[in-house]
């Protein structure tokens, strides 16, 4: 069996007496789309923060591509091959779409911080960026300032930035947050197209999307994983139904 690209072992985080991550272990295999679901307040966001490196756990380990990166900075994790999208859209509004994505590609390139030569006309980076932009279907907007995009376009731009980093694994933090039905369907389509090529950990509230996309689903309740399994297994898991899904999802 191949080594998982994201591996979390015995992660624990508490704020005072409140335990928000309670001995969480999970892994994402190469090419697998692993979804993380759970009711509001289950600790999904805190868990994502710990994986991305913006919050430090009290105990446990986080391995990316087999390398222990517990305690490493978000930038170090990115360099180790972990890309992410943000729950609250996070782009560089003053650069155009191409510039945003090229900057993501730049971070992985040799001489990422060269002082001379115009970055905007750097063909090596632009070609990489254009490929990522085309992959998410945003080519027509490549020259637009990123700040002028619609909310849905910005969500897709986030994914293009992640792809341009040529990552081993991608954290998708609610990629459909705040988008309409139509655009949501477009993002599901896009993620389906990426499936199998990257290890992806997806946090999402849209259950329809999660069940159509995920290879495996982990259910987080009160900081612990109460079940991990295929969508079909999770759908009928009695503990999950009791804690979270309710009867209407049956």
């Amino acid at each position: 069996m191949s080594e998982p690209l994201i591996r979390i072992e015995g992660l624990r985080k508490s704020f005072g007496a409140l335990v928000v991550t309670d001995d969480v272990s999970l892994d994402v295999a190469p090419g697998e789309l692993h979804a993380l679901i759970g009711p509001n307040g289950a600790g999904k966001t805190t868990l994502i923060h710990q994986i991305a490196g913006t919050l430090q756990p009290n105990a446990g380990r986080i391995l990316i591509g087999g390398v222990d990166l517990s305690g490493a900075s978000p930038a170090a994790r990115a360099r180790a091959g972990l890309a992410r999208t943000f729950q609250i859209t996070s782009i560089i509004p003053t650069l155009d779409v191409l510039g945003n994505v090229a900057l993501a590609a730049q971070a992985r390139s040799p001489r990422a911080l060269r002082l001379f030569g115009r970055a905007a006309t750097d063909e090596a980076l632009n070609a990489q960026a254009r490929a990522a932009i085309a992959a998410v279907g945003l080519s027509a907007r490549a020259g637009a300032p990123a700040g002028m995009l619609s909310h849905g376009e910005k969500r897709v731009l986030e994914i293009a930035m992640a792809l341009a980093m040529e990552p081993k694994a991608i954290l998708l933090d609610e990629p459909m947050a705040g988008v309409g039905r139509e655009e949501s369907a477009r993002i599901v389509e896009l993620l389906l197209g990426l499936k199998g090529r990257y290890a992806m950990l997806l946090v999402e509230h849209d259950m329809e999307a999660v069940f159509s996309l995920a290879d495996r689903i982990s259910v987080l309740v009160y900081g612990s994983v109460i079940a991990t399994g295929t969508p079909d297994a999770i759908r009928v898991d009695p503990a999950v139904r009791a804690a979270y899904l309710g009867d209407e999802a049956a």
Binding site: A75, R79, I92, L103, A107, A112, L113, A119, G143, M165
Partner: protein, 331 residues
């Protein structure tokens, strides 16, 4: 597909027109600077020469601040310290008989770089108001240190026995030559800052201004990027200090008073943050206004304040943006 086909030439045309303005405006400014001394001499108004020269010299300092503040979003309130460091390096070296420009400039760049690296390593750990206060504090430390240099005049400053030589030749003693040498340094500084701002490094710096978390999430070390920019910026400000000391043939702690740092910020706001050539335009506007208003009334600073408030309120992007709109470019 069709949308891409139609938008690509339009985008290219926009990029061309932006590029055209961003090269034309600095060239027009350069031509003006190059001609003004000749005009001053032809009309016998040679006292203007020293004012224009000050504009050029402080233009270098404003330009250097624009790299970290305009492009990098780092509000340094202690930038005059670098001018002072450069000026004192020149003053002390000329005083010691080692005042050749070929020695003074590298020495001043080194001193400024070291000061920038040390103070930046501390101040860049903070952000927002804390960063402003720490840079201000370091600036004041440099100010008080220079006041304590009793061997070099302490509070009263130090009069230079002569100007720096260049490879042994006293060519800077001539006001016109000195002006053109200063202008040469400004052009070199402008080309350097412009290249850096447009480079991969500059794009990461600009990205970190707008969204440091995102830029960090790509794998960039935002702190290191900012420190690099801070050092480059400090060195250029130090260079302007060398020229300022030579032009005035005098150095004093007043060069690094915090008010001077504030004036540099004014200059680049007037000029248009991040526009680079606007910083030089801002320095010109600031010093010309100062000259005009101080001749008008001794309470000129009051009128100056009013003008700056009006200016900031009514021209968002500064003089650079105003020029762009007047020439029909995109705002």
């Amino acid at each position: 597909m069709s949308a891409e086909a139609t938008s690509a030439p339009a985008a290219a045309a926009r990029a061309r027109s932006r590029l055209a303005l961003s090269t034309t405006a600095p060239l027009v400014m350069l031509a003006l600077f190059a001609l003004l001394p000749l005009l001053a001499i032809a009309t016998g108004q040679t006292h203007w020469l020293s004012l224009i020269n000050r504009i050029v010299i402080l233009g270098i300092a404003a330009l250097s601040l624009d790299l970290i503040l305009g492009v990098g979003g780092l509000v340094s309130f202690g930038h005059a310290a670098f001018i002072g460091l450069g000026a004192y390096t020149a003053g002390v070296m000329v005083d010691a008989g080692r005042g050749d420009l070929l020695l003074v400039v590298p020495a001043a760049l080194l001193v400024s770089a070291v000061f920038a690296a040390l103070t930046g390593a501390v101040s860049l750990r903070t952000k927002g108001v804390a960063f402003i206060m720490i840079t201000l504090a370091f600036g004041q430390m440099a100010f008080f240190f220079s006041q304590a240099l009793y061997a070099y005049g302490g509070d009263d400053g130090l009069t230079l026995p002569e100007r720096s030589t260049v490879a042994g030749f006293p060519i800077l003693a001539n006001k016109v030559t000195f002006f053109y040498v200063s202008l040469g340094f400004l052009v070199a500084a402008y080309l350097l800052v412009r290249a850096v701002a447009g480079s991969r490094f500059g794009r990461a710096l600009q990205g970190a201004r707008d969204n440091p978390v995102r830029v960090g999430s790509f794998g960039f070390d935002v702190f290191r990027i900012r420190l690099g920019a801070y050092v480059i910026s400090g060195m250029l400000a130090g260079l302007s200090g060398v020229l300022l000391a030579n032009q005035a043939e005098f150095v004093s702690p007043a060069y690094m008073a915090w008010q001077r740092s504030g004036e540099l910020i004014f200059m680049i706001i007037i000029g248009g943050l991040g526009s680079l050539w606007g910083a030089v335009l801002g320095a010109a506007a600031f010093l010309l206004l100062e000259e005009a208003l101080s001749g008008f009334s001794e309470h000129w600073k009051l009128g100056f304040g009013v003008l700056i408030v009006l200016f900031v309120l009514f021209t968002r992007g500064g003089l650079a943006d105003l020029a762009r709109r007047l020439t029909g470019g995109r705002a």
